[in-house]
Symmetry: C2
Subunit: 505 residues, 2 copies
Amino acid sequence: MTPLPQLKTRLAEIVDLHHASALIGWDQQTYMPTGGGAARAEQSATLQKISHEMFTAEETGRLLDAAAAEVAAAGAAGLDPDADEARLVSVTRRDYEKARKVPSELVAEIARATGQAIEVWTQARAQSNWAPFSPYLARIIDLERQLADALGYTDRPYDALLDQYEPEMKTAEVQAVFDAIKPDVIALVKAIGAKANPLGDKVLHREYDEQKQWSFGLEVIKRYGFDFDRGRQDRSVHPFTTSFSINDVRLTTRVDRNFLSPALFGTLHECGHGLYEQGFSQTLEHTPLADGASLGMHESQSRLWENLVGRSKPFWKFFFPKLRAAFPEQLADQTLESFYRAANTVSPSFIRVEADEVTYGLHIMLRFEMENDLIEGRLVAADVPEAWNARMQEFLGITPPTTAEGALQDVHWSSGLIGYFPTYQLGNLISLQLWDKINTAIPDLTDQIEHGEFGVLLQWLRVNLHQHGRKFTSPELLQRITGGGLNPAPYLKYLNTKFGEIYGV
Amino acid sequence: MTPLPQLKTRLAEIVDLHHASALIGWDQQTYMPTGGGAARAEQSATLQKISHEMFTAEETGRLLDAAAAEVAAAGAAGLDPDADEARLVSVTRRDYEKARKVPSELVAEIARATGQAIEVWTQARAQSNWAPFSPYLARIIDLERQLADALGYTDRPYDALLDQYEPEMKTAEVQAVFDAIKPDVIALVKAIGAKANPLGDKVLHREYDEQKQWSFGLEVIKRYGFDFDRGRQDRSVHPFTTSFSINDVRLTTRVDRNFLSPALFGTLHECGHGLYEQGFSQTLEHTPLADGASLGMHESQSRLWENLVGRSKPFWKFFFPKLRAAFPEQLADQTLESFYRAANTVSPSFIRVEADEVTYGLHIMLRFEMENDLIEGRLVAADVPEAWNARMQEFLGITPPTTAEGALQDVHWSSGLIGYFPTYQLGNLISLQLWDKINTAIPDLTDQIEHGEFGVLLQWLRVNLHQHGRKFTSPELLQRITGGGLNPAPYLKYLNTKFGEIYGV
């Protein structure tokens, strides 16, 4: 065997370990009995340890060097530099160097610190008391700063942290785009506030049979094109999507008898992630390239199918009669228009995961700014709740009545996930940049959606985005698809147009 | 760390890999979409390869030697030779030596040969045509004979194969017991044949709501003592039990709308396996000792709860009224007595997995004799169907109309599982040897079962058998519990008494 197939064999085993690890994580959140928790944590740690050791071994580096030489020779002989194998070597080289840069003592120290911090945070949130959590966050910020130093950066330490989730995306670029968006969105929220629909989303909070909710969600995502021969959906407390192969993609969702949104929009959201994972080229199967380009790019797909499609008027033109047929009593007093407005209610609120399309971005920008302040030393952990509340007032005009509804609401910081939050908003921005291109490419898309047809849309995404997996970074993909970088204009135009129409502002 | 904890750490990681492997196997048979099959096979192979490499590495041997010295020193200072840690070292030493004896080329060759053979067998069975499968079986027999030579034996080559599933059990001992049983059972089958109940088990083949069957099975196994905080039950095409921890034991069962037995007795059978796995001492968690002593000992537990309890008159005194409450129409014409007889119908039949308590053992003895004939060269693969049919006529007085209902019915031989079949019948024999001891130890057991009380029975099994896991072999456990070796008398007495009463013979 030449070095390239040797490298692929080694990477395939590492992929197998990652997929086994993903499966035991899926089981933990779907079917595992409570008694299995302790053993499961050990199993997970062992699989991660072994795959990390295999990946960061000198042997992997040796094979990468030799395979790079093989690819270079093939390149001189005409191999496309974007060919799967060329990209496999360069992307894996990037992963390898990142993985080797972090001392294993630091990895262990972060694991220990976050293990404790999550427990303390759980208690602190339950008691809505920042004080006990504060020193743990301070410790995590210190470790994350060390992590940034280990990973290396040229401009901002946050670059190194963001790069873990959004490779090659720079803090300065994100900040510039967020800064460009902020005043307009704050203004829109204020304008809507004055005209808010007094009924809000009350209709979504009626009683809906759980099995019928489940079935309706499945009906929609079958039409979206989710392939149930290559995936399935199960229940979990916290919805997520994972996969163990391009041909085995698992969605999970939750169902609330007294609230339609979790099962309905949650299913569409996770399906967006799932369609991305089912869409990687089969030539990437069993390689590290069969994964999303970044968390932001992944989120662009979930937001596209949840919001741009699933909360649109054309979508509900097709699906509202079907939903009313499933729930005739609950929706007897509703029209397409009233239901569409309920599903698009905008209202400043404290909890990020319950935020609407307009206010959501502000929740993220708040966190992004605070993470940078923490990492760059302008803010200390003890002052976080105060800084949080000040920004909530500035961005949304509200102040959380408790810290549990403020700075303690998310698990991310206690888990050491600094640099993760902005990817949610990058997903929103990217989804609109794609949506602009899609509407140009498919002029009758609205008409197709009104008829419940999503095949051409999915095909566009497959060809332009999904098939590539991790062959390209999100900045590279944006360049290929839109000819430029992050651009806030489509996002702002969408919010202003859609919610301007709904709220008459 | 001294060598013993080092050894335990290494073995714990290997256990983690085995459990991850078991989980991906469980998922494959319960929830995996069809598309996941190809990747799953690779994942499974990778986990097995890595755990095999870790286990057979020189480092494991070095730690075993050092840990053995540590245990010997502790023994000199008074450590019980049956203490967990002493047994961990001796049992692992036995596993290690067995694993190191088989050349990896032979393992790979058997994997390749059986991979092909299973495909050919699937086709051959569908067409009921022995010829295409014959050369594949010949190849497997040749490889299994090589495997026996590699593993080593002093008396019979079959000893080495049997030892994989039933450590330290000898072919000669099994054969002596089977030979002692055979004439009596053949005579009993003949005697019953003349008096067979003309209605047979027709009542079990009525239409039973699937969800109610499922619920009834769960109600019984909750009473048996299966702990649903440390386990669960799911559906699969082929029922099985597996576990990923003493505290995470998974049963599976199937449900047939037109046949009560699969979900009912299948659930009780798998629960017997599950109670064994939940009963290992918690001190054995995360070690290779947290497993059944042998397949035969495992099967003794499934048979005990399925047959000795679940097909007994006292059991049905308690549960028949409940079953009739669940299915009032289907069981309107039934009495306790008629239902009990239906559930214990004896009739010679072609398919092993559908056989009753009396005829089942004969199906196994037939396979045991033929496997020995094949391995010792007295029979060649091409002559198997003829030899099979001759024995079916001798043992059960019937001749399969097709090879699919004869020598092609089981997957075991195509999978290279030579030496596996006798463990099923060993399970039956051992279950009765235990049952004798139990009835002496718990004189009012019948009364307890009539009242749906199983706690004292389970406690006896926990204390005398379950807690030990793999600390002792099945011959050692038999010796500890019964004071002797395999003994056919309790089995024969049970069959003659129970079925003598039912059939008046």
